[in-house]
Each structure stands twice: as structure tokens, then as C-alpha cells.
């Protein structure tokens, strides 16, 4: 049985088509990433899969339970971390956590034990009795995560779990997801952060304008775009018109200047390296470093979502 099975789901808001006939499935125990730019339909997908909103067409099953007709049974297995840190700012961290536990019918002894464990895990135990209106954005996010995990779900929906978090909190989340993976918990996460998807997900779906452009493991997705491998070289001294010179090398499709280095996009890195050496010799300069890079998930993403390539190595796409 799949943890999530989506069949031809569409969602229309008036004339706007937010999701256009998407289908995919997520195996039990898998960490599945939904990667896409703003407005792609990531949150809408989660809202449908958690039964908050109903699809215009198609159907979805959570562990075999239809989300529209067996909503409550399907929800019992899931934990949800919403896109916005939706906590009650008039209540303390502890009151927030206990409230969400009660919505999931978790007995007092168990919820108090789990509540303590989660607050400790997310570094909020010392602040447990403070009203959360005074919490920082990252603290609110961490509390939202704790609230989503209080029912020890078999399937967790994380809508941009790390947005607004610092490096340290990011690492906690990554550990939590890894721990889920070890315990066989299924994770469905959305993100714009390609590196996060690359590091945490078994499989990634790239969604754009309500349609799924590709679904595969990060490595296999990268293999589909061999044409965007690259060679990075540094020359000393740098001859005049180097960019133009390097562009003449066979199979180089593009040259980007990155600081004191040049990145040559190609589908044949070994041939380009020979070409660079020949160029250096002709220009009477030295090659002081050479690195080759495979395609990144970012390249796949840019290619599939048709975003303009941004020069100078901008790493995020939002």
C-alpha cells in the first residue's frame, strides 16, 4: 500500500487552474520532496491531501483511505506542519502543544511526556511557559514543527519546514527527517530550497504552474540533463578577452565569469579541459586550478521550470 496515492487531481479557483491533473504516489517510509517556485501549487496539494480543501477533480488516498470520503480515518495517521507558523500567540508554548495533542486524543501522561521531549528537541523547553507572542520567527516555526509531530504520525506533511530558520535549526530538522526515515515514517515536504531537497529526499517531484514536470531521485534527475556539466578554471594572469577566447573551445555552450574563475558549460568536460590547456599555452598563461561539476538539481530545476538562468551563481530560486 502506498502512503500517498494521487490520481489525476485538479484544483480550480474560479478561472485559475492551481493544479492541473497531477498524479503521483509516495511509498511508505519514503521522504518525498515537492519542489517548485512560488505559486506552483505546493500548498494547494498539501491542503487537498490533508482534507482541508477538496479537489475539483480526481482523488487521493492516504494509506488506502480516500481523503474526501474517509477524511477522519485518513487524518489520524498524519501530522501537519502548515506553511505559516500558525500558533496561538495568546497561549504559552506548552498550552499550544497540549492543545494540539488534545485534538488528536492523546492521553495526559503521553502528551506531557511527548511535549517535553519535543520542546527539548526543538530547544524551547526553557521557554515553555512563555506566551508565544514574544517568540522570534524561528522559535514560532520550531513550535509549529513540534505541534505537527505531537501525535507521532506515520505520515508527516511539512510545508516549507525550514523557511525562516537559521543553520542550527535547519540541522535539527534535517536530523528529525533522517530519524523519521530510520523509523519508517513517510515524509512529504515542500520547499523552494533545492539543496534541502537534494540532501533529504529519496525522490523529488518538480512542480511548476500546477503541473508535475518530473519525478525521480535527485541523482537520476541530474542525469537527465548531462548537457549542463561544467568545468571551472582559474588562469594566472588572466589574458584580455578571456571569455571570448574560452567560448571558442569546441562543445562549450556558455561561459560564466564567477569571481576570479570561469565556468564553462559543456556536455564533454574532458574535451574542454584539453581545449583550456591549449588556450592557456597559446596565451602564455598558467592554469592554476581546474574543477569539473556534474549537473546540479538547481540546473534540472531551472531547465524544467523554464526560469531564466541567473548569472554569478545565485543558488536559490525564489
Amino acid at each position: 500500500m502506498y502512503a500517498i496515492e494521487v490520481n489525476h487531481i485538479s484544483k480550480h479557483f474560479g478561472k485559475l487552474v492551481a493544479l492541473n491533473n497531477i498524479s503521483f504516489s509516495v511509498a511508505e517510509g519514503e521522504t518525498f520532496g515537492f519542489l517548485g517556485p512560488n505559486g506552483a501549487g505546493k500548498t494547494t496539494t498539501i491542503r487537498i491531501l490533508t482534507g482541508i480543501t477538496v479537489p475539483t477533480g480526481g482523488d487521493a488516498k492516504i494509506f488506502g483511505k480516500d481523503i474526501v470520503n474517509e477524511t477522519i480515518a485518513a487524518r489520524r495517521t498524519m501530522g501537519i506542519v502548515h506553511e505559516t507558523s500558525n500558533i496561538y500567540t495568546d497561549l504559552s508554548a506548552w498550552q499550544n502543544l497540549m492543545f494540539s495533542a488534545q485534538l488528536y486524543d492523546i492521553g495526559k501522561a503521553v502528551r506531557e511526556k511527548r511535549g517535553r521531549d519535543l520542546l527539548e528537541l526543538f530547544g524551547l523547553w526553557e521557554r515553555k511557559d512563555d506566551k508565544t507572542s514574544g517568540f522570534s520567527k524561528g522559535m514560532k516555526r520550531r513550535l509549529t514543527l513540534a505541534m505537527g509531530l505531537i501525535n507521532e504520525p506515520r505520515l508527516v506533511f511539512l510545508d516549507e519546514p525550514t523557511s525562516g530558520l537559521d543553520v542550527q535549526s535547519n540541522l535539527i530538522i534535517r536530523d528529525v527527517i533522517r530519524d523519521f526515515n530510520a523509523r519508517g515514517v513517510t515524509v512529504f515536504l515542500t520547499t523552494h530550497n533545492i539543496e534541502e531537497a537534494n540532501l533529504t529526499c529519496d525522490r523529488v517531484a518538480i512542480i511548476n504552474k500546477g503541473m508535475i514536470a518530473a519525478i525521480d531521485s535527485p541523482e537520476k534527475l541530474k542525469k537527465t540533463i548531462q548537457s549542463v556539466q561544467s568545468v571551472e578554471v582559474a588562469l594566472d594572469p588572466v589574458p584580455a578577452h578571456t571569455e571570448d577566447g574560452l567560448r571558442q573551445i569546441a562543445t562549450v555552450s556558455e561561459v560564466r565569469k564567477l569571481g576570479d574563475k570561469f565556468r564553462l558549460i559543456t556536455e564533454d568536460p574532458p574535451a574542454v579541459i584539453s581545449g583550456v590547456m591549449a588556450y592557456a599555452k597559446a596565451q602564455d598563461t598558467r592554469v592554476i586550478s581546474v574543477n569539473t561539476y556534474g549537473p546540479s538539481l538547481e540546473d534540472v530545476f531551472i531547465k524544467l521550470t523554464g526560469l531564466e538562468v541567473r548569472h554569478h551563481g545565485v543558488k536559490t530560486v525564489d
Partner: protein, 253 residues
């Protein structure tokens, strides 16, 4: 597990969740300034505005004041809390919990219900201490206050289903209904003296039946029979509960 055992298990879960929602509302909203204004001061001023200058003994005025207080206070929590929760997105938590919308509607209504009982105690106690107005029969008072409070709390939750993030939107819709109710429910004009055409209107006001019961506690007589009053209040509660459930579902689509 048998179907029946499963059904009872889910019922228990729903009630626990409803109670948790009610408790959360009490902690957060009972002390919000706009709720104090709309739930406590508003009914008092409404009453004074209409009652001042009218002849009336305390034993007629006190039950009327109790009824008006309930009308306004019971339906003053959810029309504020639910739009604010939509704005803060905490409402998504309630509608994504593993319970039915009935539990959410019930939980929200419970907080208005308890609030209203607390507020209705004020004119009741004032009646005894200040105006020396004795209660002849406690049973219709207790039943009347409980059912009327629950009925208007559920009505408040029903109106709050309108998908807005601004409490003012719901309050103004609610007032379009609440204000006329005062005049067609036999509070200032006894039911027997209302003109025949308006008489029909009194039948569709839940406040008519609530007021009739509460009145009986002080006068000893009801206009309708107590059974009719109780049955009608229960019918209104069910209508509001199911309509609310329906609308919350509809507006999420």
C-alpha cells in the same frame, strides 16, 4: 472493533476535541476587549435604551434583561474568534484535526454558551439583591437559560462560517438578525398583545421560546407550554448546528 464500538470511540474523541477547542477559546478570547464590549456592555445598553421610560415591574424587566443578555453574549465569542483564527491561520488546525466539523462547531459554540451563562448571572443576581425579585420556579429558569444560551451560541458559530477575516463583517450581519429579534420575541410587548401579523414572526424567533421559559420562572405562567418552548429551542439548535456544519464545509471548497 465492531462498528458500534468504533462509533462510540469516535464520539468520545470528538467530545474531547470539542472541549479542548472550548477551553482554548476561554483562555484566549474571554478577556479580549472587543468581546467584553460586545458581550457585556452592548446588551446592557441595548436594554437600557429600550427599557428606560417604560412602565414595568422588576419581575417583568429582569427576565427580559436576562433574555437579551443571553442573546448578545452567547453569540459574541465565535464571530470574533473565528475570523481572527482565519487571519492567524490557526483555524486550519481545527479544520485539519481528525474530528468532524460537528466537533469544531460544538467546541466553538460551547465557549459562547459558558460565557453567556456567566454573563446572564449578572442580571439574575441583580434581580434578587437589588430589585428583590424572587424566582417562583427555578426549573424553567435553568432550562431556559441553558437552552437559550446554547441556541444563540450555535447561531453565532453559524454566522461565523462566512469566510471573512474581519470580525466586523460577521458582527454586522449578526446584528441585522439580533436587533429585530428583540422586538418580535415578546420581551417588551407581551406575546398576547402583539398584532396578529407580527404574531407569525414571533414563532420563527428562538428568543420567543427562551424568553417564555425564563419569564415563567418569575411569573409562574408560560404563553406556550414549556414542552413547546423546550422542543422549539432544541429544533433551532439542531438547525443551526447542521447548517453551520454544512456551511463550514462549503466555504472550504
Amino acid at each position: 472493533m465492531t462498528d458500534q464500538a468504533e462509533w462510540f470511540r469516535q464520539l468520545r474523541v470528538e467530545l474531547i476535541a470539542a472541549w479542548a477547542i472550548a477551553k482554548k477559546d476561554m483562555l484566549i478570547y474571554y478577556l479580549k476587549p472587543n468581546i467584553i464590549v460586545s458581550g457585556m456592555l452592548f446588551p446592557l445598553f441595548m436594554f437600557l435604551a429600550f427599557a428606560v421610560g417604560r412602565p414595568g415591574t422588576p419581575s417583568v424587566m429582569i427576565p427580559g434583561l436576562i433574555a437579551i443578555t443571553i442573546l448578545f453574549s452567547a453569540s459574541s465569542i465565535e464571530p470574533v474568534s473565528i475570523p481572527l483564527e482565519r487571519r492567524m491561520k490557526t483555524f486550519d488546525r481545527l479544520i485539519s484535526a481528525p474530528v468532524s466539523l460537528h466537533a469544531v462547531v460544538l467546541g466553538e459554540s460551547l465557549s459562547g454558551f459558558l460565557y453567556s451563562i456567566g454573563i446572564a448571572a449578572v442580571p439574575f443576581i441583580a434581580g434578587i439583591i437589588i430589585f428583590n425579585t424572587p424566582v417562583i420556579n427555578a426549573a424553567p429558569l435553568i432550562i431556559g437559560v441553558l437552552l437559550t444560551s446554547f441556541c444563540f451560541a450555535t447561531m453565532g458559530t453559524l454566522f461565523a462560517s462566512y469566510p471573512t477575516e474581519s470580525p466586523g463583517d460577521i458582527m454586522s450581519m449578526l446584528n441585522v438578525v439580533r436587533l429585530p429579534l428583540i422586538f418580535i420575541s415578546g420581551i417588551f410587548i407581551p406575546l398576547g398583545q402583539i398584532p396578529a401579523i407580527a404574531q407569525l414572526l414571533t414563532y420563527i424567533s428562538p428568543l420567543t421560546y427562551g424568553n417564555d421559559l425564563i419569564h415563567a420562572a418569575y411569573s409562574g405562567t408560560t404563553y406556550f407550554s414549556p414542552v413547546v418552548d423546550i422542543a422549539m429551542l432544541l429544533v433551532f439548535i439542531l438547525i443551526f448546528q447542521f447548517a453551520a456544519n454544512r456551511l463550514y464545509k462549503k466555504f472550504n471548497e
